[in-house]
Symmetry: none
Subunit: 188 residues, 4 copies
């Protein structure tokens, strides 16, 4: 019934599958059984739709980890580090998120779109950076800032390759080696 929601749901799917530039608003309207007039009633323009869609997407993805307590005092630093990584790998694997992540990378790598959503990207990056740093700060052998940057980048790369690989990608094995490697580096 909520047509605005319908439009956004369809938009996110089509944007992800066909690419933003290759998805005319008319296609979104057709798939969500809504008139073009209504679409422009709810969203200022195509860029506005993109922004709202992107925000909603980010929100959905984040909901996954929300119930996990990052500062659980009962856990050791090592346990918190590992569980943080596990959580990220878990979200990556979630079938329903695949489309979202693909779209995310698409926007990230397309100059025009990236510029448009720069503020949102920056904010999110800052949050991730801080959450890694808050863990690494407790580890003497870590270079908290650099290692956080590195972890984010590497996880990005693994997600990227996993998401766009067609045949089965050895994600589980990579995860294990990945974690092992960082525990070694951090001396945990």
């Amino acid at each position: 019934m909520d047509k605005k929601q319908q439009i956004m749901d369809v938009a996110i799917e089509l944007f992800a599958k066909r690419g933003y530039e290759n998805t005319p608003i008319s296609a979104i309207c057709k798939h969500s059984n809504v008139s073009k007039g209504l679409a422009f009633h709810h969203f200022e323009n195509k860029e506005g739709l993109l922004r709202e869609v992107f925000l909603r997407m980010a929100q959905i993805i984040e909901e996954v980890g929300d119930n996990v307590d990052l500062v659980n005092e009962e856990l050791s630093t090592k346990e918190r580090f590992v569980s943080h990584l596990e959580k990220i790998f878990l979200s990556m694997t979630c079938a329903e998120h695949k489309l979202y992540y693909q779209f995310d990378f698409q926007v990230l790598c397309q100059p025009a779109l990236r510029t448009l959503l720069k503020d949102l990207f920056d904010e999110r990056y800052q949050l991730m950076l801080e959450s890694f740093q808050s863990i690494l700060n407790d580890i003497p052998s870590a270079d908290s800032l650099v290692d956080s940057h590195m972890l984010i980048a590497e996880l990005d790369g693994i997600a990227l390759n996993y998401l766009f690989a067609e045949d089965e990608y050895p994600l589980t094995k990579i995860k294990q080696r990945f974690i092992k490697k960082h525990l070694l580096l951090l001396g945990l």
Copy 2:
């Protein structure tokens, strides 16, 4: 003088800076002082131009590492591994290649473009995989295949974050931690 070359040079730049879909052929022609007719005389269509541009780009990038001998028998396995990584980081840093790499990621993450150049991507990935495996095979503690996938993915991620970061990105420090980490993992 060689107008076809001019067109390709301009195309690669505009594609990278503005995005493929946001770069009309007319813009490419304007920047290379050439008529639209000529562009379609030399390239079957826009996709054909993209393909040729992509091939040329890949070739330019590869030329960097060509003079480095991968199977130098004088070098130890560790030295070969490290030098291979150094080479990749070097190419990444090369100012002239920045545009190319950005374009590369753009194509990779846009479903339509990715599909179009799938064969070229696959081929290149295979080559990278093999070159890593050929090194890791000599290291007992390595999981040659999985580690190669992982290395490629991580390097991708680092490149991605480096390329699109606006302010100074601690690439050098990341490189050091990155290499150190893998030497630990591989027990070198």
Copy 3:
């Protein structure tokens, strides 16, 4: 008011006068005071417009004979045959139809267009064939099928020559000789 109708009316006229291939959509739009966008809003593409225009044209032409009763039981076979022919000659002469008929022949003789509308042509031919056969079946000396084919062909030819002749064409005299000739053949 009905812009779609306007477009079709102009299209049929320009198609007939200049030829389908020599009539850009822009010309149709200019003559009907309509934007190019609207033309493609109402018709899928130029071929779609052609199809709709052709259907409408065929319908207009057919309306002429509709009020004449073919199976009027009061008429003799001879009378029915003659009146059928008269009706066809009448439609041919109708000034308003001249353009339509010319367009019809144009489409018929251009391979690409003919192919596009093959189904419509076939259907119409079948109807004409049947209407002639239903009359000739009552005449013993007639070879119902062959004569029907022949009649259609001959009438086509006469229409063709009449329509494209510039100076006065002796259509009335030809009609008389034509009817007389067939009555002789059929022994009526």
Copy 4:
């Protein structure tokens, strides 16, 4: 070796099969292994090529009947009339001419092309008219001029339907009924 001839041969075939407007000069060049430059060296422009091609085509078609003597004094009027018709039907059936006739009708029915070659059409029509009249003049019951127009038109129509029919068209039977009918009309 004679490239000009090659061009014309290919042109006539492509014009007939695809239509004049749908046959770019580039296609003709490709099929005849000739450069575009050369094509424009031999023919002033596309219309010039059309004209030469049309002339050559007409010439080829006419060669068929040339060896038949129309004013053979040994033959009766009836025999001359019938043999004239037979000749025309024969030429129509000739497989090699099918393409030519189709092209002929195409040009005839396309306003732009018809105008371009009007003089050639008129001349040819006049010749046909005279050849029929020269026979019919000897027949008292004939209306020499009107009947000639009618005969030409009917034969046109039969050719038209025969040429563009896909399945087998009962041409032979039609020919027989056609000749019989006219002999009746002329009282021969």
